[in-house]
Amino acid sequence: MTCFDGAASVGGGREGCQIVPARESKNAAKAAFIEARSVRKSFDGVPVLDGVSMRVSGSETVSILGPSGCGKSTLMNIITGLIPADGGDICFAGRIGYMQQKDMLLPWKTIMANVTLPRIIGGADRREAEAEASPYFEMFGIEGYENKYPRELSGGMRRRASFLSAFLISGDVMLLDEPFGALDSITRGRMQRWLIDVKRKVGVAIMLITHDVEEAILLSDRVYLMSDKPSRVRDEIEVDFFADEKSRRLLSPEFMEYKKRILDSL
């Protein structure tokens, strides 16, 4: 079951999109990827994306870092197929799980019903979908909340549930659109460490959109720096310290070096 069938080739006449068929099992060989090539988009004649190229694959975490209004969310919407691009290609293999800034949790459904909704919509048996989802509740730190309603959860817990929901759509590649932007800074810090932890357990590829420099450095293996509108990739930075222990990054001297480098570049 794919969420998106093959490549959404929009440039016309371009070739070279390698499409790997989607796999059914999670945590299988990591052939999944998303690649954007020279994606262009304008709204009412105003260019927003001016040839953006980037790639995420394997089990890496890649951040797209840029100021508010630089078209990050437009890029997300193009990748997920909500809006068409004017030019360029989007190639991907596997399924894409998409987590938005807002909690996509229906207030009238329990957390379990919410996270299994995409599978139910896809025609899956409810019991099967729940059996498939339930081991992840503990892994994601929301065990015991299966039968609660979203309003009974705190903002951080709702984010975990949203993440689980996106993860259940795809354990291959996930797009996170400013996932912790609406949280207070203490909860955000906790959620970032939580993400590092969960990511290590499930090994999914993550494309993270953020305007928070520290969040990008803390969580990423690579960071794409976006320019102002019309945006393009200004710089691509490999973040390769404490790659296996990212939660130690925050207090290390390298952290400040990266931060300075990124801030200088922006």
Partner: protein, 267 residues
């Protein structure tokens, strides 16, 4: 099913109900006193005690008329709900239908029911049918409009999300639009039920063989104002019970809104 009321909430609800009840009791008491003290003739203003007496002594007759009225009201209200859902979904799905129907719906509400009812009686006779049609004419509109608004105000981000997970139109209604529109629906239904019994009574008054309206007309013609008031009291009581039932149903069905704003648990 989750508990929807905390103890203190329930207590507050009872305490809030005390105010109107006390007011009614006071008004009835003053009324009784004035009628007795000034010796007002019963064909002008009957005393509340006389009204109560009339209700009890005439109960069998009132009950049999009430049964006819309740039947018309129940059928009319059910039809209103069903038609409102159908029309609201049509308007939600097809903008052309919405543009064509919406102004007509509003126009239909400006036509005076008092004038329309006799026409319906000419067309459909003196039975239950024209009464049911009148009830539908009056009750369908608030339900339909609130449902249409409820569908239209569905969060666009959620619609995108459903598009993303490839939901069919029917699934969007089942999992998203209808639950989202339910609070709107109950708001419209609450307005509708305040009209329901009244609409049936008016229709009966304008021509019929049985029903509270017919009973009232006969009471009026014989200047039995005590029976008149007894019938009015019954209509009010039944309408209030209907409103309470709608409130109860709303709290049950729209359980996720209850206690909204209370703090979340967990981290």
């Amino acid at each position: 099913m989750k508990t929807v009321l905390t103890g203190s909430n329930k207590k507050r609800r009872w305490r809030d109900a005390l105010y109107p009840v006390a007011t009614v009791v006071a008004v009835v008491a003053v009324w009784e006193l004035i009628v007795r003290a000034a010796d007002v003739p019963a064909y002008l203003v009957p005393a509340p005690s006389a009204i109560a007496l009339a209700f009890v002594s005439d109960f069998g007759l009132i009950a049999s008329h009430a049964r006819a009225t309740m039947f018309e009201a129940a059928v009319g209200l059910s039809l209103s709900v069903a038609i409102a859902f159908g029309v609201a979904m049509l308007m939600d799905n097809f903008p052309a239908v919405r543009k064509a129907l919406y102004p007509l719906l509003i126009m239909s509400q400006t036509a005076p029911v008092i004038a329309v009812a006799p026409i319906l009686i000419i067309w459909f006779g003196f039975g239950a049918l024209p009464k049911v049609v009148i009830v539908v004419l009056m009750c369908f509109f608030p339900i339909c409009v609130s449902l249409t608004d409820g569908f239209a105000e569905t969060d666009k981000d959620f619609l995108d999300y459903f598009h993303l997970i490839k939901a069919t139109r029917l699934q969007v209604y089942r999992h998203l639009k209808i639950p989202h529109a339910l609070p709107y629906f109950f708001a419209g239904l609450k307005i509708a039920v305040t009209y329901t019994v009244m609409a049936a009574v008016i229709a009966e008054w304008l021509g019929g063989n049985e029903g509270i309206g017919v009973y009232m007309l006969r009471a009026k013609q014989s200047f039995a104002l005590d029976r008149m008031f007894a019938a009015i009291a019954l209509v009010v009581a039944v309408s209030l019970i209907l409103i309470a039932l709608v409130d109860l149903a709303a709290r049950r069905v729209v359980y996720w809104k209850a206690g909204a704003g209370e703090g979340g648990v967990g981290e």
